[in-house]
């Protein structure tokens, strides 16, 4: 029997100013298939799927659903043909209940909502696919994993047969990933097609039936998963082999540089973002802070850098207390930071590369003559950074937003490292970077480690932790319970601690008591 593809995309082309995002792409998905769309950042995966979901229109080429040509003008017209997408950033209204979010905008929703009927329908869907969620819960109070389930149910509720999932595991803890994969398998068993957009190889190997690899807007390979392995996939993705740098954990770390004692930091709202944190950082070691985003990591590193002040506890650098010093003074003493928001905090959008290169040392006498900034010296300085760190750009006078993510990160690293840091803090240093760019960031960080800088990284990806860190501190609800030697632990242990595994029992009892 000849199988009919649920969806067929034929000769798709799509260009944006300066980029051909998709070039002559052919793509098919069959019912019951988990189809991984693999590629580096900028390979054109999201563009292709946004076309399928009706968000973009292709410049040329066409789409067929069950052998019938269709044209999508909007996500709604794609949904009416059974194609729905779960975006990386959820599109839910935090103050509404799960049920309200699900019916919101559903094409055949009645003017007056029958709450019980809807909740029943949702429960039926939940049971059918193993998507546990309480229809009456307020979305804002759910975890990211639960919110993702709400998004999935939202699509199923609208009769979705092809479900596109854009990097769905980025926001999840390892345990939640496992649950998600179970749900995906169950959906495919019942005939739904699932397209998984990802750049993570192990996910593809674990869950996919079929893989299509994109590189620079073109399909460079596709096959059933049985005929592939991680190595062949990597080669397809990046076109050449990469040698991964490794951290040499045998080398003993140096003397104590930074010490946090009982640090407590109030958050932006009325709660303690960081609670009683103790942490020691030594010269020449890399300590990773692992945790699900929003557990106080941001507040903690900003407190070390001087952007926030602790309400209790001490931070000492080489034995001297610094917790009350302003940013400038901490910079002078060698505390450098690469923030999570590269553009916005780390770099100033719309200002030139030159202006950004001096953001942290514009006061230094070498950049000034009298009360005028010396742009001749600044330009020489900027070029030196650009060359030393292989930053690709066409002009140092252009706004910094013209640079790619990898080059922005290199510029930030170059600028901070040039201050000769004693302590280098970096939040999510490789987030959103492609394999090559991430590799060069790792190399720069490892060189700094060799020089004896104490390095503190906030990381989310467990693979990254195992690649680069000496020790890992797990942060959960503002606290650091454990600091583990990386080579004496494993993914499961870290994953469990990230979810506050040792506390779950206690919390369960508390909710029972309520």
């Amino acid at each position: 029997m000849k199988r009919i593809p649920l969806v067929k995309m034929v000769h798709i082309n799509k260009a944006f100013p300066g980029v051909k995002a998709n070039q002559d792409i052919n793509f098919r998905v069959y019912p019951g298939e988990i189809h991984a769309l693999l590629g580096e950042n900028g390979a054109g995966k999201s563009t292709l799927m946004s076309i399928l979901a009706g968000l973009y229109q292709p410049d040329s080429g066409f789409i067929e659903v069950k052998d019938k040509a269709v044209r999508f003008h909007s996500p709604r017209s794609a949904l009416s043909q059974g194609i729905g997408m779960v975006y990386q950033h959820f599109r839910l209204i935090p103050n509404f209940t799960v049920a309200e979010n699900i019916v919101l905008g559903a094409p055949d929703a009645a003017f007056l909502l029958h709450k019980q009927d809807i909740e029943q329908e949702i429960s039926a869907l939940s049971d059918q696919f193993g998507l546990e969620v309480d229809p009456a819960a307020i979305v804002g109070q759910l975890s990211l994993g639960e919110q993702q389930r709400v998004e999935i149910i939202k699509m199923l509720y609208r009769g979705c047969e092809v479900l596109i999932m854009d990097e769905p595991t980025t926001v999840l803890t390892p345990r939640e990933v496992k649950e998600l994969f179970k749900i995906m398998r169950r959906m495919s068993d019942q005939g739904k097609a699932i397209i998984l957009i990802t750049h993570k190889l192990h996910e593809v190997m674990e869950i996919a039936d079929y893989v299509t690899v994109l590189r620079r807007g073109k399909v460079v390979g596709e096959d059933r998963i049985e005929n592939l392995n991680e190595k062949t996939l990597t080669n397809m993705m990046v076109a050449h082999e990469i040698e991964y740098s490794q951290v040499d954990r045998a080398k003993p770390s140096g003397k104590l540089v930074l010490k946090l004692q009982d640090v407590q930091v109030p958050g932006d709202q009325d709660y303690m973002a960081v609670r009683n944190v103790n942490l020691a950082l030594h010269a020449g070691e890399i300590v990773a802070i692992a945790g699900v985003a929003g557990n106080g990591q941001k507040e903690l590193v900003e407190t070390i850098a001087g952007l926030r002040f602790p309400s209790r506890g001490t931070i000492s650098l080489d034995g001297e207390e610094i917790q009350t010093l302003p940013v400038k003074e901490r910079l002078r003493r060698g505390i450098c930071m690469i923030p999570e928001d590269r553009i916005g905090m780390g770099l100033v959008p719309n200002l030139s590369v030159m202006d950004n290169a001096i953001l942290r040392n514009y006061n230094h006498e070498t950049m000034n003559s009298g009360f005028l900034l010396n742009y001749k010296k600044i330009s020489t300085y900027t070029w030196k950074l650009v060359q030393d760190y292989n930053i690709y750009l066409s002009s140092i006078h252009h706004p910094v937003n013209y640079l790619s993510g990898g080059n922005l990160q290199k510029l930030l690293l170059a600028r901070e490292i040039d201050q000769n840091p004693r302590v280098l803090i970096a939040s999510y240093p490789v987030r959103g970077l492609d394999v090559m760019a991430a590799e060069s960031v790792y190399q720069i960080l490892l060189q700094e480690r060799e020089k004896g800088t104490a390095i503190l990284l906030v990381l989310e990806d467990l693979d990254d932790i195992f690649r680069i860190a000496d020790r890992v501190a797990i942060m959960y609800e503002g606290q650091i319970e454990e600091v583990l030697e990386v080579n004496q632990t494993d993914i499961d242990e870290i994953g469990a601690l990230m979810l506050g595994a040792d506390k779950i029992g206690v919390r369960y009892v508390e909710t029972q008591a309520n």
Binding site: G306, V327, M345, L347, Y362, L373
Partner: protein, 355 residues
């Protein structure tokens, strides 16, 4: 079927940057043409008279310059605040406070020599405008109060203060009931250039434009202002004191508008009176915005808007209401902002196959 579609430009071409504003202004005048026609006037003749009124003679040009000076100064003032994304729309009030304070000095210390009196008036004008700008500045910097509303509200307060003084305590007994103060002593007059009404405020506007440009582009303080304007978070990360910069920039911004007020009373009216500004402080917002906050372009745009004002006054004798000038001002702004879309995007026609 052909369908129009906007495509984002990678960079703004030089041609578009020149052509779009010119086309926008032409369109605005076409718009005004229709408006005049239906109001029962001969549009061609009205425009000719406006042109003659603004540029037709030595006197006309000098009048245009006289109006351009306060516009340019107020425009430079607000542009500084706009750079920091502080929406100071209080230039009108700062202008009035500057005029008020300078008049106070001139009226109470008229015996001083010009060398003493004029600098004192300058100082008073700058300080009063500065304080009027610093009030919303401080509220913004330390309590995060929206400066748009506070600076606007303070305009009415300032205008009413001027009214109070010219109707009340400072009123000239010999004014036959008009809301005016007595004339300043001659020592409080700003020197004029040649025999025209154009005064040295023109030179001052030029100097301030140059200073603003250099300070913003080349000094450390200007660098900090640019950083704070683009991203307050980045500024804090760089160790800058954001609140102090907000306060200081609002103070200087208001101070420059206050200087404009001082110059107007000292150079033109030679006394404080009701309605000293035909909305300079508001028009200055348009001027600064059209000039894209570039100090030198502000001078040029202020000259054009001065011409529009003077031309508008001159056709009033012809029976056309001054409101038509406001309509034209509005139309120019409308089309220029609309033109921005074509500056940032390209219009193409795409063929769409019909299903």
């Amino acid at each position: 079927m052909l369908r129009p579609k906007l495509i984002k430009r990678e960079s703004e071409s030089l041609l578009a940057r020149i052509a779009v504003p010119i086309l926008s202004i032409i369109l605005a005048f076409v718009c005004g043409w229709i408006f005049l026609y239906f109001s029962g006037f001969d549009p061609g003749e009205s425009y000719l008279r406006m042109y003659q009124g603004a540029f037709g003679s030595r006197y006309a040009i000098s009048e245009t310059l006289v109006k351009a000076i306060p516009l340019a100064l107020c425009g430079l003032g607000v542009s500084l605040a706009f750079r920091m994304k502080l929406w100071n729309i209080g230039a009108e009030g700062q202008f009035h406070m500057g005029a008020l304070a300078a008049s106070g000095v001139a009226l109470s210390m008229g015996d001083l020599s010009a060398w003493m009196l004029l600098p004192l008036m300058f100082l008073a004008g700058f300080a009063a405008g500065g304080i009027w700008g610093a009030i919303p500045g401080a509220l913004r910097a330390y309590w995060d109060v929206n400066e748009t509303i506070t600076s606007l509200m303070l305009n009415y307060v300032a205008i009413l203060w001027v009214d109070f003084l010219v109707f009340g305590p400072w009123k000239d007994p010999s004014s036959m009931g008009f809301p005016l103060t007595p004339r300043f002593s001659v020592n409080g007059y700003l020197p004029t250039l040649g025999t025209s009404r154009v005064h040295i405020g023109l030179i001052l506007a030029l100097i301030i434009a140059i200073v603003v440009y250099i300070v913003l582009q080349y000094t450390r303080w200007g660098y900090e202002v640019r950083v704070v304007g683009e991203s307050k978070v980045a500024a804090r990360y760089a160790g800058m004191n954001v609140a102090r910069h907000i306060l200081l920039v609002m103070l200087i911004s208001g101070g420059i508008a206050g200087l404009a007020g001082m110059i107007e009373v000292s150079g033109i009216t030679h006394r404080l009176q009701q309605g000293i500004s035909p909305g300079y402080g508001y028009t200055a917002i348009i001027v600064a915005w059209l000039a894209r906050l570039n100090p030198f372009t502000i001078l040029l745009v202020a000259f054009l808007f001065g011409a529009l004002l003077v031309g508008g006054f001159s056709v009033q004798t012809f029976g056309i209401s001054f409101s038509i000038v406001l309509v034209l001002q509005g139309a120019v702004l409308f089309f220029l902002l609309g033109g921005e879309i074509f500056l940032k995007n390209r219009l193409v026609w795409v063929r769409e196959e019909v299903r």
